[in-house]
């Protein structure tokens, strides 16, 4: 055991003196379990030693005696023989020697007999004594070491955790291990050559400020001052504007960035799943000083982003360009050390940044020229699917098919919505009707398509073999050989399943209760054909009814008023949050007389916890384009803009590609960047009249006489939540700080560049083609009295089945959470813990956070509230953009209110005082309460402030910012009061909790092995203890403990965990 402590690897820092001693003491097994033991052990040790000595002595005596006897017998044999022979010879000569001979023979006989008689006795004595020696020695050994020695493996893990507990060493370890494995990103010197190129490419008017800065940042990875000066010199942008813009948007960095960027998602779902602990652990491990985001050596930058839109994989960490889901505070360090997961993990999203052209995209599989198509394999490749490994599965699939030789089409499809089941494969043999999973589920029918969920890359080959057989002699032979090899491997391994060749996983069936419950209540309008459409295949979209609405409008032709009338009849309301009737907005823009009008698709979905807009843009770009075309037709606009968050690179890429394809088909006018008042512009306005003449068929046969009148472009946001507000969005599009302004005038009157502008949400536009294709009555038939149609929600948090769902309005929150989501989920690292507390499973959720930072928390008691704009407003929440995060009793509502306020406070543009100062004061109060220093008057103060901010703020951001505080105060006031009393009932607020080990501890040392700060001493087979002084409340020990032996104590109560 002392070897366990010898020679730590040279690169590893030495253990501190006292901890080394402590480990040594444990390793020596000195048995401190109870006080009485040492004396008893001393007695045992001496007894064992005595027994061993006695036994050994006996063995020695008996063995010696036997040996002497044997030796004597051997030595005397010859002499005796000589003696007898001599006497015998004499007897022949003289008879008198006969007696002598007789005497000699008698003597020898006696001696031999005595020896023979002694021999078994001595042998048995020897045996007994040897046995005694063995028993004594074994006893001695076991009495000395009461506890087994600690294996090196365990000591090393503990040592490693301790080693990185020192920030100075931590950087060394991380750099040594991580930097070599990660590709080093190039940080260029500030040469101004690139600036000129960028400006030449992007343009030099003041509206281009944001695109220019984005390009600059992409090139330099931050905004160097020299570059900004150069930009001002070359363009119309003033230094004031550029400073304003660069400081306003959170996407822009003013300080150099580290070689590697580690981004931690701080969305709602990630926050409740432990993102703060992960950030803290990352900063500690990488040695990032407080107040900065990059370590001193400039190797690592740790960033926080509001939301990456991978809420069902929470908590999410992105390292350079690879996204990792389901991380934990103790596993992020390993992520830094492991080599990047190659192409698979990076996959499509990794390449999303601007390199779409040229190379073959994933999903565009090349079919062999000969042979009939045996079938199709569909794989969802949304951003979050890729983060969960779909990219790797896709690559494995292509490899397997290439190896297999089957003529199978691999089809990249959009999001299926079942995020809890990704990576998701659908196998369709040739000849099946071309419909989607959700459509079949709606019919409750099965058609032979086979679904696989949570497929790993290793299983893909087996799936392909199962469905498409093995063809050809050589592949068959190879397969037999592979099976033999895997049989031989598994044979050596005591049946550890992971080692054996992976078999195909179990197939899902739509009738399985979880699947049926998840899909059963859904109604797909905005997400129609989900899971069956290739996002960028225009022909397929048209074949599935795409552009039918557009064709109907343009071929009849329908006057714009008729289009607006149909939208009015459908009862469609804006899906961005406030629920303003869409037709009213359209009508306002139509009524305005102006030469130029704009339509803007608002894809700046900044709320933490919401990702449906991203999914719609990634999966159905043509549907949104069609919606925007119809809207532009209705209001008479000639130019349209997609304003998309920069955090959604794949959405930008796909929409850009889709716009290009539509332009090629003649559906859209290529982007000419018309000046609003140019004569050319007026000419294009006339074309609008000619639109009616053209049909889709013309596009295929040749250039139609009538040119399309709408041009579309994609503009990336720069990370400002407030830009979701329409006036701020417009300001941002004009290259200014994204600050809202007073309304009226509304954008419908004076919008972009002072022209009438229509701003609609992505989801609103996605519903429009369906309405015009199926008629307004079909849409109005769904939903409630005041809210029609469906709503897409991003369901995440503590539910069993998270994902993207589209449900009819009027469905209750309980139905969403319990039927579709499958009720609360116990987040735990070990399955058996779940089974031991299964009674808690179904009912453990306590609230739903709806609508992100502008929304509110609806308690489980109000779960029967229908999803409806007015009903939700009544309970204090808003529909928002549709983030729906389920919370359970381990989520602290005060902390959640603080979290949201921290977000809105950070996103406040600072224009109006109530929002800028008021939210700051509220945040201070909430931080105080969470730190356990709350005062009695804090709660009334909070309420008063909240009401004031609601009443007097300029825009929606400020008006709704207090919502999370007000709803939690209303429904969870007891939690606030508990905090004032110094207790956090959910066990989340660090200042109010401590970790303790309960009596269930078996001394397995796992917590000590993984505690990143060495707050738990390694004590095998004994109850461990957490050093509260050292403990950082990172929750690693509790998550790791297989026995549920670690409690979070707050006050004198054990918190639910």
């Amino acid at each position: 055991m002392s070897r366990a402590l010898q020679g730590p690897p040279a690169s590893r820092p030495e253990l501190s003196e006292d901890s080394a001693k402590a480990v040594a003491r444990r390793c020596a097994g000195s048995g401190l379990a109870d006080g009485g033991r040492p004396r008893r052990r001393t007695w045992r040790v001496s007894a064992a030693a005595a027994l061993t000595i006695v036994g050994a002595a006996g063995t020695f005596v008996a063995g010696g005696w036997l040996a002497i006897d044997a030796g004597r017998a051997l030595a005397g044999q010859a002499a005796d023989k000589v003696c007898v022979e001599g006497l015998t010879a004499r007897v022949y000569q003289e008879a008198r020697f006969a007696a002598e001979l007789q005497a000699e023979l008698d003597r020898q006989t006696v001696v031999a007999l005595a020896r023979d008689a002694r021999k078994p006795v001595l042998a048995w004595a020897l045996l007994v004594c040897a046995a005694l020696t063995v028993v004594g020695a074994k006893w001695f050994v076991s009495a000395r070491a009461l506890r087994p020695a600690v294996p090196r493996r365990v000591v090393n893990l503990h040592r490693r955790a301790l080693a990185v507990a020192n920030p100075g060493d931590a950087r060394e370890v991380a750099v040594q291990a991580g930097a070599l494995a990660l590709p080093v990103l190039h940080t260029p010197e500030v040469d101004l050559q690139a600036v000129d190129e960028i400006i030449a490419r992007v343009g030099g008017d003041s509206a281009a400020a944001i695109p220019i800065l984005q390009e600059v940042q992409r090139h330099y990875r931050y905004l160097p001052d020299a570059v900004l000066k150069r930009v001002c010199a070359l363009t119309d942008i003033t230094p004031g504007q550029i400073a304003g813009v660069a400081s306003f948007y959170s996407h822009f960095r003013r300080t150099p960035v580290g070689e590697h960027v580690v981004t931690v998602c701080h969305g709602t779902a990630c926050h409740v799943a432990g993102a703060p602990q992960i950030t803290e652990e990352l900063r500690r491990r990488l040695g990032v000083p407080a107040g900065t985001d990059t370590d001193a050596a400039g190797r690592f930058t740790v960033e926080q982003v509001p939301c990456m839109g991978c809420c069902t994989l929470a908590p999410v960490v992105r390292i350079d360009e690879v996204t990792h889901g389901h991380t934990r505070a103790d596993s992020v360090g390993l992520l830094l050390e492991q080599p990047p997961r190659g192409r698979g993990a990076k996959g499509p999203s990794g390449r999303a940044n601007g390199t779409s052209g040229g190379k073959k995209r994933p999903g565009d599989s090349v079919l062999p020229a000969d042979g009939e198509i045996a079938g199709e394999i569909r794989i969802g490749l949304g951003s979050c699917c890729v983060a969960n490994g779909s990219g790797a599965v896709h690559d494995a699939l292509e490899r397997a098919l290439a190896e297999h030789g089957a003529c199978v089409r691999v089809k990249r499809v959009g999001c299926v919505g079942m995020c809890h089941n990704t990576p998701f494969l659908e196998i369709r043999k040739h000849g099946l009707a071309d419909d989607s999973v959700t459509e079949r589920a709606g019919r409750n029918g099965e058609d032979g398509a086979v679904l696989y969920s949570r497929v790993s890359a290793e299983q893909v080959a087996a799936i392909v073999r199962r469905h498409f057989g093995v063809r050809g002699l050589l592949p068959r032979a190879r397969r037999v050989w592979q099976q033999a090899a895997s049989a031989a491997r598994s044979w050596n391994r005591n049946g550890r399943a992971a080692v054996a060749a992976p078999a195909a996983p179990q197939a899902l069936e739509l009738r399985d209760p979880p699947i049926a419950a998840f899909l059963g209540r859904q109604k797909h309008i905005a997400t129609e054909h989900c899971g069956s459409l290739d996002p960028l295949d225009l022909d397929e979209y048209i074949a599935h009814g795409g552009f039918a609405a557009w064709q109907r409008i343009t071929s009849e032709p329908m006057p714009p008023v008729a289009v607006i009338e149909e939208v009015r009849q459908s009862g469609l309301r804006g899906r961005g949050g406030a629920g303003y009737p869409t037709w009213l907005k359209w009508n306002k823009v139509t009524e305005r007389r102006a030469a130029t009008k704009y339509v803007i698709c608002n894809g700046d979905e900044g709320d933490p916890g919401a990702f449906m807009d991203r999914m719609l843009m990634e999966s159905y770009p043509y549907r949104i384009i069609e919606g925007l075309m119809i809207a532009a037709y209705a209001v008479g606009a000639t130019e349209g803009v997609f304003y998309i968050r920069a955090e959604y690179p794949l959405a930008c890429e796909r929409l850009t590609a889709a716009i290009r394809k539509c332009e090629q088909r003649g559906l859209l006018r290529p982007d000419g960047r018309l000046e609003p008042d140019s004569p050319e512009h007026d000419r294009h306005m006339d074309i609008r009249g000619g639109l009616a003449a053209r049909t889709l068929g013309d596009a295929d046969t040749g250039p139609s006489r009538a040119q399309p009148g709408l041009t579309l472009r994609v503009v990336q946001g720069a990370g400002a939540f407030v830009c979701g507000e329409e006036t701020a969005l417009i300001a941002s599009l004009q290259g200014q700080r994204g600050t809202p302004r007073l309304r009226p005038p509304y954008p419908a009157e004076k919008g972009l560049w002072g022209r009438p502008t229509l701003v609609n949400n992505v989801e609103t536009l996605a519903c429009v083609p369906w309405i015009l294709r199926n008629g307004p009555a079909a849409f109005a038939a769904l939903g409630t009295e005041r809210s029609k149609g469906t709503k897409v929600f991003a369901l995440a948090g503590k539910v069993a089945r998270g994902g993207l769902i589209e449900v009819p309005m009027g469905i209750t929150i309980r139905e969403i959470v319990e039927e579709i989501g499958g009720g609360g989920k116990r987040v735990s690292s070990f399955d058996f813990r779940v089974s031991s507390s299964e009674s808690k499973l179904a009912t453990s959720w306590k609230a739903v956070q709806i609508g992100g930072p502008s929304g509110g928390c609806v308690p489980a008691a109000l779960a029967d509230t229908p999803v409806d704009f007015e009903d939700l407003a009544q309970v204090g929440a808003i529909m928002g953009s549709g983030g729906l995060v389920v919370l359970d009793e381990t989520d602290c509502m005060v902390d959640l209110a603080r979290y949201f306020l921290e977000f809105t406070q950070g996103q406040s543009c600072g224009k109006c005082v109530p929002c800028r100062v008021g939210t700051r004061r509220m945040l201070e109060i909430l931080e105080r309460i969470c730190a356990g220093q709350g005062r009695t008057e804090d709660l009334p103060n909070l309420e008063e402030l909240a009401r004031g901010i609601q009443a007097t703020s300029l825009c929606g951001l400020g008006k709704t910012a207090p919502n999370p505080v007000l709803t939690t105060l209303r429904y969870f006031r007891d939690e606030y009061e508990a905090h004032l009393a110094g207790r956090c009932p959910a066990g989340k607020c660090k200042a109010l909790i401590e970790y303790v080990v309960n009596e269930a501890c078996t001394g397995c040392t796992i917590c000590a092995q993984y505690c990143p700060v060495g707050a738990i001493e390694l004590r095998p087979y004994e109850r461990h203890e957490v050093d509260t002084e050292k403990c950082t409340r990172c929750d690693v020990c509790r998550a790791r403990c297989p026995e549920g032996a670690i409690d979070i104590m707050s006050g004198s109560c054990v918190c639910p965990a």
């Binding site: 087994p148 493996r153 893990l157 179990q506």
Partner: protein, 353 residues
């Protein structure tokens, strides 16, 4: 042979499985292979039992008493009386009971002391009382001779001694080695301070028993004048049981025991030919030693617990596990279960989660 059988099973099953199997997951072939092996054992036993022994010997040419004449009388050959059948039955019974007891102690009560008691019992009965004969290790030779030489008569009890531990190995792993085998028992008792053998060396040495087994079968199946039972002749420990034997062999035995104080059970792991067969069969065993009494924590405390190199990646390797029960006290779950007084039931299948 069993490898080929498993291969056949895999190939047979695999070619049919193009249809998706609901509830399938990974199909374990171990039960199938186990059944096949059981059948194969039966097939092996049948020819050795059912052989026809031809007593027709060319005695006509041999000289008789009359030929010799001169008042010659046949000397009375002092043949020791054959062991009574009931005594042989008792031996077999002791073996069966010992195997059952060992399996029960190793897998159910999980007591190291119990294993040591069994070892002491095995050593006393099969070692010192029966003087190392009859033993399944040597029976390898009898069985192989019986299979090849039609003129060789083999006792049913020898066959039973050969097959019983193999059947137990298919059911419970190498419980015979745990303490029923006197050679194993004497080494188990001598292993006072065993240390780990480097894995690579251990892996190489593990092939030695197969070489020894091959040699033993080859010598045993040679025609009669050259026939030799090398396993019995060079048994290193039988001299201790009989208090007699070739001095050099006893010195080798003593040397093995002295080495065995530090390197656990060298004969069993690196020489015993019967152990090679047992390790092969125990790979397919129905139940085997699991380090934890109920559920696996993967805490790593048992990492260095096994002096016989049978713990790999924190799981017991059935092939190398000699069922000595040492690792049990390294598992933190063991003391919990003992304290709680729960039955120490070992889950199969799910235990290796």
């Amino acid at each position: 042979m069993s490898f080929a059988a498993q291969l056949c099973v895999r190939v047979l099953r695999g070619s049919r499985s193009t249809r998706p199997v609901r509830g399938g997951g990974r199909v374990s072939f171990t039960p199938v292979a186990r059944a096949l092996l059981l059948g194969a054992l039966g097939g092996l036993a049948y020819p050795s039992v059912g052989q026809h022994i031809d007593y027709a010997r060319p005695v006509s040419a041999a000289p008789t008493v009359e030929d010799i004449g001169a008042g010659y009388t046949l000397p009375v050959v002092p043949t020791p009386p054959p062991r009574a059948t009931w005594r042989e039955a008792v031996d077999l019974g002791v073996l069966a009971v010992g195997l059952g007891l060992a399996a029960w102690i190793v897998l159910k009560t999980r007591s190291r002391a119990g294993v040591l008691l069994i070892a002491a019992g095995g050593l006393a009965y099969f070692g010192f009382y029966r003087e190392g004969c009859i033993c399944p290790i040597g029976a390898v030779q009898n069985v192989s001779v019986a299979l090849t030489d039609p003129a060789y008569s083999i006792s049913y009890f020898v066959i039973a001694f050969f097959f019983l531990p193999l059947i137990f190995a298919l059911l419970f792993g190498r419980v015979f080695c745990a303490g029923v085998c006197p050679l194993g028992a004497i080494q188990e008792l001598a292993a006072i301070r065993p240390v780990q053998v480097p894995r690579r060396i251990d892996r190489v040495l593990t092939w030695l028993p197969w070489v020894y087994l091959g040699l033993a079968i080859w010598f045993a199946t040679r025609p009669l004048p050259q026939r030799d039972f090398v396993i019995c002749r060079y048994d290193p420990f039988v001299g201790f049981f009989r208090f007699t034997g070739a001095l050099w062999l006893m010195l080798v035995g003593a040397g093995l025991l002295v080495v065995g104080v530090f390197i656990g059970r060298p004969y069993c792991r690196y020489l015993c030919p019967y152990g090679a067969i047992l390790s092969l069969l125990s790979r397919f065993s129905w139940r085997g030693v699991t380090i934890t009494p109920d559920r696996e924590l993967d805490c790593g405390l048992c990492d260095e617990a096994c002096p016989y190199g049978a713990i790999e990646e924190l799981r017991a390797r059935k092939a190398a596990c000699l069922a000595c029960a040492r690792c049990y006290r390294h598992c933190p779950r063991q003391q919990v279960c003992e304290k709680a007084g729960q039955p120490l039931a070992v889950e199969t299948g799910s235990a290796s989660k």
